[in-house]
């Protein structure tokens, strides 16, 4: 049997099994829990995806089935039963709430402290509001402006329908299906996400965050983002939200892929504040994310992240510095409190000549939490004159938390220069007393000191979020005086 005939036959057979096996499910919002090929076919069919994408998903599923859940991270959590999750829910209409009075007052209090406007508080808590004319018109004008420049910014699902050639060309090129256990799982079952394409030479005139906040009601459990900055373009992109995100889904396994073409620059900022569980560590989101960018010649990718949420975080935004003279940056503040566990850091893979990377990681641990930095700086034999500078500091707030540093440095070129420094210290009692002596209360003093400690990273955030992120730090550490 020739290859094409075989494929055709398989195609027919699979189409049939779908036709008969799962017809009853098509109209329902949710398919039964469990993961198998049939489920993946259903997801793909529901989304009306092209054949190549289905194949791609199935290949991912096959790879995933042969993988084992990784255990190397410095985190402890009960194993998830991945067969008990439902892998497809159509975006459900959220239960409408008449007014803010019905919203959890804890949640409102936090949003108020963050300085989030009433309007947005309503939107975030799912209160039914009349069409907010401002937002809509803003969104429309954004869309018009972006359209004029040729910027494509839409959901991944939409992109698969409207721009299949772009999606097909780039998806999986930076994070292949086989990359790791959770990336493989995501590749098999991703439901939606965002897609962004910046054409050659275009400098995206606005933070895509603004638009994002207006349009993205809730993110999926297996979200996938694909961002392509064509030659010489620039974009600043912000994902996430400082507002506390409650979510019933325990596992979040997202994938973000960035392609930064010759001389393009991408700034990718994240504020992550998923539900961390209660003070005893019950509940909370497991956030296992794969984020990676590929830099072509003289391209640049900056990852900035402020991580305060999730019960367990496992995340290493990385840069593959393939092109000569490309630049990778990673700026991170990770706060853990109560029973939270975070194992986060970055990988800088230097392949091109004169590639440069900078890593600034600031960990803050409190309560009974465990906060680890894990990073890789890898210099390949051809990476002449590569440079890396890393600083990983840890601040300890209580005597019951832990702060850990696991940097991997692998150098195969004699012209490389790598500098890594790490320090761990307690928040200074002298500093607190000094503030108190000037009339600043202890809690506020700690907030000030912590913000100062994290300043190098906070400064890298887009203006509009820097302020909220600062408040978020203070709120996350409330009541954590050691």
């Amino acid at each position: 049997m020739s290859q094409t005939e075989e494929e055709k036959l398989i195609g027919e057979v699979t189409a049939k099994s779908y036709e008969f096996g799962f017809t009853t499910d098509i109209d329902s919002d949710t398919i039964p829990p469990g993961l198998n090929e049939g489920v993946i076919r259903t997801i793909s069919a529901k989304k009306n995806e092209p054949e190549w994408l289905l194949k791609w998903r199935l290949e991912a599923f096959r790879l995933w089935s042969e993988m084992e859940e990784p255990e190397w991270a410095h985190v402890n959590y009960p194993k998830l039963d991945l067969q008990s999750i439902s892998y497809y829910s159509a975006p459900k209409q959220k239960k409408e709430i008449a007014s803010l009075d019905e919203v959890d007052p804890e949640l409102l209090k936090t949003m108020e402290k963050l300085g989030i406007s009433i309007e947005e508080q309503k939107r975030l808590s799912g209160v039914a509001v009349d069409f907010v004319m401002d937002s809509v018109s803003v969104a429309t004008s954004f869309k018009e402006k972006l359209g004029e420049l040729g910027v494509i910014f839409c959901s991944l699902g939409e992109a698969i329908q409207e721009h299949p050639e772009l999606v097909r060309k780039y998806m999986g090129t930076v994070v292949p299906q086989r990359d790791n256990y959770y990336a493989a799982l995501n590749s098999a079952v991703f439901t939606d996400g965002s897609f962004c394409y910046i054409p050659k030479g275009v400098r995206c005139p606005m933070e895509l965050s603004t638009y994002f906040r207006i349009n993205q009601a809730g993110t999926g459990q297996f979200e996938r983002t694909l961002l392509i900055a064509d030659e010489g373009s620039y974009v600043s992109y912000l994902e996430g939200c400082t507002a506390p995100q409650r979510d019933e889904n325990q596992l979040h396994a997202a994938v973000v892929e960035i392609v930064s073409m010759d001389e393009a620059e991408v700034k990718y900022s994240t504020v992550q504040n998923w539900y961390p569980g209660d003070a005893n560590g019950l509940g909370g989101v497991f956030n296992f994310v794969t984020k990676r960018g590929l830099c072509h010649r003289a391209a640049k990718i900056s990852w900035t992240q402020v991580e305060t949420g999730s019960a367990v975080t496992w995340k290493y935004p990385s840069c593959i510095l393939k092109g000569d003279d490309s630049i990778g940056e990673f700026f991170s503040v990770a706060v853990t409190n109560n029973m939270q566990q975070a194992d986060t850091g970055t990988k800088m893979i230097h392949i091109g000549k004169r590639t440069r990377s900078t890593i600034i990681s600031k960990g803050i641990s409190s309560g009974h939490s465990q906060n680890s930095y894990r990073g890789l700086v890898q210099i390949h034999p051809g990476a002449e004159n590569a440079r890396n500078f890393s600083v990983c500091d840890s601040l300890l707030m209580t005597d019951t938390c832990g702060a850990h540093t696991f940097p991997y440095i692998e150098v195969k070129n004699p012209t490389a220069q790598i500098e890594h420094e790490a320090t761990t210290s307690k928040i200074g009692e002298d500093q607190i007393f000094y503030c108190q002596q000037r009339g600043i209360e202890e809690e506020e003093a700690i907030g000030l000191i912590v913000k100062g400690y994290a300043k190098d990273v906070l400064n890298k955030l887009p203006m509009e979020f820097a302020v909220e992120a600062q408040k978020l730090l203070t709120i996350s550490l409330e009541g954590s005086v050691g």
Binding site: H74, D399, T400, F406, I409, V411, P414, E419, H420, A422
Partner: protein, 419 residues
């Protein structure tokens, strides 16, 4: 895996430990690169070789290879205990007869006493450790009594001599309260020899006691050289270690120190300058389990030719180890195209009132300095030599014993053609 140990003979002393290790050996996994601890050091070639333990007796000076001096540091006034292929060489040794000091081959210890000596768990967790515990032929035993200071250092010299030889030296040192000693462990192999030298060194340092340990590896031939050193420090004790790899085709040094009492002071430094296709791996662990300890670590390496270097330094500060002050520095130079270094300095900290820092750098020779030296009339080689000497001087200069320091420097000079 039984094939690998087919030709290994387990002697008849230390039976209890041996039997335990033999049982564990079959269940412990052989290290592969998938294991984090062995990620950068492959033993796959070794385990496919067919090695044999040496089954003969002592050979004296007649059977000893001409090119190696049984007394490796002639200028050093020291006691000496010598082993060839794991077997004690009494005629080449010079044991101390000093009041309050017991020193003898480990095989002379009674079965009863031998049960009480070792407390490390290496044979329970690592295949390499189980091999040593199961097949060790002999080793060095030293006991220094309370408030006794041994007047001279002891050199423990083990030699691997012959093809496909497996030998497993195993050493134990106990320093009682207020006692002091200095031990030099010198590992050599003769030309054209091959196989494995898998040694274990355990020292237990009582309150306010002190041990200096210098370890030198200078092996010809093609030897897989494993060394695991396990040190327990009780309150207020001092431990100072130096590790120099002069030569060796495949070297793995593991140093594991537990601070098991308040106020311990630990210094451990090392240097590695591999050439050709050599592989040198240094794994260190400093485990602070009690308050008020200080530790300072400095490892420096230059990778020449197509050699590979590995540095893994772990510092643990356990929840009760408040006011710990731990410092770690690892500095590397990749000198030639084809050479590489894999470094992983780690901090795991579970106490808050601590000061811990580590730094790790990888770079090349300081080109500015090189140029400066050349502009003063030095040629390239002389200038580089000067920089290399300066680079390892910080490690070398803290070796307390001058004769030893000079000999190490001489060996490096000879190997690297320093003027």
């Amino acid at each position: 895996m039984s094939k690998f140990t087919n030709n290994f003979l387990a002697p008849s002393h230390g039976v209890e430990l041996r039997n335990e290790a033999l049982t564990l050996l079959s269940s412990l996994p052989v290290p592969t690169r998938r294991n984090e601890r062995w990620k950068y050091s492959s033993v796959s070639k070794l385990i496919n070789a067919s090695l044999e333990t040496y089954k003969g007796g002592e050979v004296g000076i007649e059977g000893w290879p001409k090119e190696i001096n049984p007394n490796p540091v002639p200028q050093l006034e020291a006691y000496r205990i010598v082993f060839r292929n794991g077997v004690y060489e009494p005629t080449l040794s010079e044991l101390p007869t000093f009041k309050g000091v017991v020193c003898m081959p480990l095989s002379s210890i009674s079965e009863e006493q031998s049960k009480t000596l070792f407390s490390n768990k290496y044979h329970k967790t690592e295949w390499v450790g189980a091999l040593n515990a199961a097949y060790y032929q002999d080793g060095f035993y030293l006991h220094v009594s309370k408030n006794i200071k041994l007047d001279r250092p002891i050199i423990v010299h083990h030699l691997t001599d012959g093809e496909n030889v497996a030998n497993f030296p195993r050493h134990f040192v106990r320093i009682d309260e207020g006692g002091e000693a200095e031990v030099v462990v010198w590992t050599t192999a003769s030309q054209d020899s091959s196989g494995m030298c898998n040694s274990l060194f355990e020292a237990s340092i009582a309150p306010n006691a002190q041990l200096f340990l210098e370890k030198i590896t200078n092996e010809e031939g093609e030897i897989y050289s494993f060394a695991h050193d396990f040190i327990i420090q009780e309150a207020d004790s001092r431990f100072k270690a130096h590790n120099f790899t002069i030569k060796g085709s495949w070297v793995r040094n593991e140093l594991s120190i537990v601070s098991a009492g308040k106020g311990t002071d630990t210094i451990f430094n090392g240097a590695y300058l591999p050439c050709g296709n050599e592989h040198v791996d240094n794994h260190t662990t400093m485990d602070h389990t009690y308050p008020d300890g200080t530790s300072s670590e400095l490892y420096r390496g230059i990778m020449y030719g197509k050699s590979t270097g590995v540095f893994n330094g772990k510092v643990f500060v356990r929840p009760d180890a408040q006011r710990t002050n731990a410092f770690q520095q690892n500095t590397n130079i990749v000198a030639d195209r084809g050479a590489s270094i894999n470094a992983k300095p780690e901090l795991e900290i579970y106490a808050d009132d601590v000061k811990c820092a580590h730094g790790c750098t990888v770079g090349q020779f300081d080109l500015e300095a090189l140029f400066y030296l050349k502009s003063r009339g030095l040629d390239e080689n002389a200038a580089r030599t000067l920089l290399v000497e300066a680079f390892i001087a910080d490690v070398l200069s803290s070796v307390p014993n001058e004769a030893l320091r000079n000999e190490i420097k001489r060996l490096y000079s000879e190997r690297h053609h320093w003027s």
